[in-house]
Amino acid sequence: MKDVKNVSRRSFLKGLGLASGGLIIASGTTLFVACEPKDIVEFNPNLFVQLNSDGNLILVASRSEMGQGVRTSLTSVIADEMEADWDRVSISQAVGDVKYGDQNTDGSKSVRLLFEEMRKIGAATKAVLIAAAAKKWEVPASELRAENHFVINANGKKIGFGDLVEIAKTLDVPKDVQLKDPKDFKYIGKYLPSKDVVTLSNGSAVFGLDKRVDNMKFAAIKRCPVAFGTVKSYDKTAALKIKGVIDVVEIPMLRKPFGPLGGVAVVATNTWAAFKGKEALKVQWDLGDNNTYDSEEYMKQLTANVHKKGKVAKTVGDVEDAFKKASKTIESTYQLPHLVHAPMEVPNAVVWVQGTTCEVWAPTQEPQRTRTEVSAFLETGEENVTVNVTFLGGGFGRKSKPDYIVEAAAVSKAINAPVQVVWTREDDIQHGYYHTVAAQYMKGGLDKEGKVTGWLHRFALPSIASTFAPGTVDPAPFESASATNVPFEIPNMQVETGEAPAHVRIGWLRSVINIPHGFAINVFADELANEAGIDPLEFRLNLIGSDRIEETKNEYKYDTARLKHVLKQAAKNAEWGKKLPEGHAMGLAVHYSFLSYVASVVEVSVINNRVKVHNIHSVIDCGLAVNKNTITAQMEGAAIFGMSLAFYGKITAKDGAIEQTNFGDYQMLRMPQAPKIHVEIVENNEKPTGVGEPGVPVIAPAIVNAIFKATGTRYKTLPLKDHKLV
C-alpha cells in the first residue's frame, strides 16, 4: 500500500482532524491513515463501487447498520464477485437517495433483495477490469482472470486492480455479466468478521448520539403523556433559569404516521441542561381522546372479542362440524402485552435547517422516508434535504419511523441553528410505537388416534394499519398471514379476527406479528400433543405432515420439508428425549417467518418456582447463508431478545399514559440469565431469506412448553415475571 503511515490507535484518534480529506481504512486490528496523494485517480463504474488508482476500494452500503452486520454482508458480496482483496475494502455509507434503490432497512430483507444486484455489480466491475488489462496487454479478455485484486494472464503475469483504473475509466461497463459458481465464493458463505468490529470496540464509531456539528445545540422535548394529546399552555420560567438552557419552543403535532407527537422543546448548550430544563418545564395538556386507555381493561375487551365469532380470514373444511365429531376438544386463551423496542441508543437526530436547505445526521433505518418527511415538513424539495446515516445503536423497527428526526427539523428551524434532539430513556419507553397487545383464542379437536381434525385460531390485536389510517379496527392482511399460513395438515381449519381499536401508536417491532402468532400456535400445538398423549416432537412433525410446497404470492415457496428439517435438527442437536437432571425439561417451537425456517429447543429448569434457561438450540434455514458470522450472531441475539420479552416484556397504560419508565421497570435480560446458545445454519443454495427477525418468535413458546414439561403448569400469558417465575 503506498503513502500509508501505520499509526497507533491513540494517535489515530488524535489525528482525526489531520486525516480529514484523507482516506481512513480499518484493516484487521491496525488502522491506517492514507494521506491522499494528488495523483489518485478514481474509477466509479457504478454507484456502489469506487476503485482508486492506489488499489483502495470503497464500497457503498445502502442499508443502515444497526448491528445486523449489513454493511459487511452487502459489500462482501460485491467484493467476492469482483475478486477483490477484502483487506483493501473500506465501506462508505450511502445518504438517503432513491438512486440507491429501496434503502428501507426493515423486514429482514436487505440481503434477500440486494444479493443478486450486489453480485452483478461486483461481476460487472470485475469484467471491466479484465477488459482494461486485455486492452493494456493486447490480448483477448478470455485469456485473463481476476484473483485477489489482480488481473492475471495464463502465464501468471499480474497487474493490480488499481493500476487498471486509468484504462478502465475509458471503457464501458458491461450490462450482461457472468456470475461466479457458488462453489468458488471466497467471502460469501463464510464466517466473515464485521468490517466495523474495531471502531465498534474502541468508541470511535459515530452513532447518531455522537454526531457533533459546530455551534450545535441540544434539545429535549416534553410530550403529552397520552398519545395525540396537545399543548394547552406552558410556563417556561423555571426551565429558562437552568444554567445552559437557551430557549424553549413549541413543536407542532403532525397527525401522520411518522409525524412528531408535538410538545415543548427545551434548547440548551448541553444534553443535561436540556433534560433538566424539560423536567422544570410546566405544561398544561389537552389529553385528547385516548386519556381513558387502560391496558388491563382493554385486555378484557380483546378477550371478549375472541370469545365470540369474528371475521373469517381463512377457512378450510368445516371446523364446527369437526369439533362436533371430535372425540376430544380443547380450548385455550392467550394474552400478550404491548412491548416497546428500547434500542440501546435512544431516538435522536442532528438537524441543521438553513433557509430552504437542510442537513440531517441520524440513526435511521429509513433514510429516504426521512428525507420525504423532513422536506414535507419544511415545505422544500427533497433535493434540498441531505440525510446522512450514522451507525444505529439498535433499531428493532423503532428507527424506521422518523418522527424524532422531524422533531429535530422543527427545533432547528425554530432556533435557526443546528440541533441534536435527544430522547430520554423515559421518552423512549413512554412515547414509542408499541408492539401490539394481543388476545388469542384457540380451539382444537382430536380424534381417537390423537390426530387433529379441527383447528380454530381467533385473534384480536390493534393493527399497525391504525398508525396509517386512524380508526382502523381490523388487522391488515399481513397481520393475518402468520396465522393463515400455518402449514398443518388439518382437514378443517379456520382463522378469525376480532376488532381492536388502537389507543397508542402501534408499530412494528422485531418479528412483528410473528411474536403473538408464533406463541399461540406453538403453545397450543404443544397442548394438543399433551392431550393426545404423544411426544411433542413427533406430534408436531405429524401436524406439518407430508413434504409439499405451499403456494405463496412471491417466488419463495413455502416448503414443509425445510420446516420439518429445522425442527428435526434442533431436536437432534439438543438430544431431545435424553435424560435430564431433576427439575429440568425441554420444550420446542418451530416457525416460518421472513421467508426463513427456524426451530428452537430450549432446556429449562424450574427449581423452587424459579425458571432458568440453560440451553437454546436454534436451527435456521435462510437459504444461502451469506455471512455465517452475522447469521449466528443474529440467532444468538434473537434468542436473548425472545427471552427478554418472555421474562419481562410488558408495557401497560393507565389513564392513557404508559406506566413503565426506564430499564428499572422495563427490564432486559442480563448476562447471568443468558443461556448457552447453539446455532446451526442449514447448508443450501436456495435464495437467501430473512435473518434478523425469524429467530425471535420461537423462543417464548419453547420456554413455556419446557416449563409445562417441567412443572405441569401451562403459562398462557406473558411475561413470566408476572407469574413470579423470574
Binding site: 486490528t29 468508541g203 470511535s204 452513532f207 445503536g393 427478554s644 430499564f663 448476562m671
Partner: protein, 152 residues
C-alpha cells in the same frame, strides 16, 4: 472550574457541579465513546474507570470526581486493550452501542481479578445491558483475554 483527569490529560471545565460526569465527558470535553443509555444507573452504557474501578458516569456529579483518574473506552490501560483485541477476535459487537460500557466493566473485572470464574464474570457484567444480546460472545471474549493474560 472543575478539573478532570481523563485518559492521562487534565481538562478544566466550567459546568454546574451537579452535572453528571457522563455529560461533561460527552458534551463538554467531547469524548463520545462513553454512551448514554438510561441516565439512571440501570444499563452501564456510561461506564468509565475511576481509579481502575467501573462506575456509572451518569450517576456521578463532576464535583465528586476530585483527583481521581478517569479512563474512558478511548483510553489506554493494559486490560482494556487486551479485551478490545478479544472483542475483535470473537466479533462481539452487534450494534456496538453498549460495548464501551461492557469493555470498561470487563476491564475493571480483570483489574481486580486475574482469573475470574463464570460466576465472577456474571456478577461483574450484570451491570451492563446489551439489547442486541451479545452476552455469549462477551463472555467468550473475556475468557479469551483471561487465557492470554495467564499465558503471559
Amino acid at each position: 472550574m472543575t478539573k478532570l483527569k481523563i485518559n492521562g490529560e487534565i481538562h478544566t471545565i466550567d459546568v454546574d457541579p451537579d452535572m453528571p460526569l457522563l455529560w461533561a465527558i460527552r458534551d463538554i470535553i467531547g469524548f463520545t465513546g462513553t454512551k448514554f443509555g438510561c441516565g439512571k444507573g440501570f444499563c452501564g452504557a456510561c461506564m468509565v474507570l475511576m481509579d481502575g474501578k467501573a462506575v456509572n458516569s451518569c450517576q456521578l456529579p463532576v464535583s465528586s470526581v476530585g483527583e481521581n483518574e478517569l479512563i474512558t473506552v478511548e483510553g489506554e490501560t493494559e486490560n482494556l486493550q487486551l479485551l478490545q483485541k478479544s472483542w475483535e477476535e470473537h466479533n462481539v459487537p452487534q450494534c456496538g452501542f453498549c460495548q464501551s460500557g461492557q469493555l470498561i466493566t470487563a476491564t475493571a473485572l480483570l483489574n481486580g481479578n486475574s482469573n475470574p470464574s463464570e460466576e465472577d464474570i456474571n456478577n461483574a457484567m450484570v451491570r451492563n445491558i446489551c439489547r442486541c444480546g451479545t452476552y455469549p460472545r462477551i463472555k467468550k471474549a473475556i475468557n479469551h483475554s483471561v487465557e492470554l493474560k495467564n499465558k503471559g
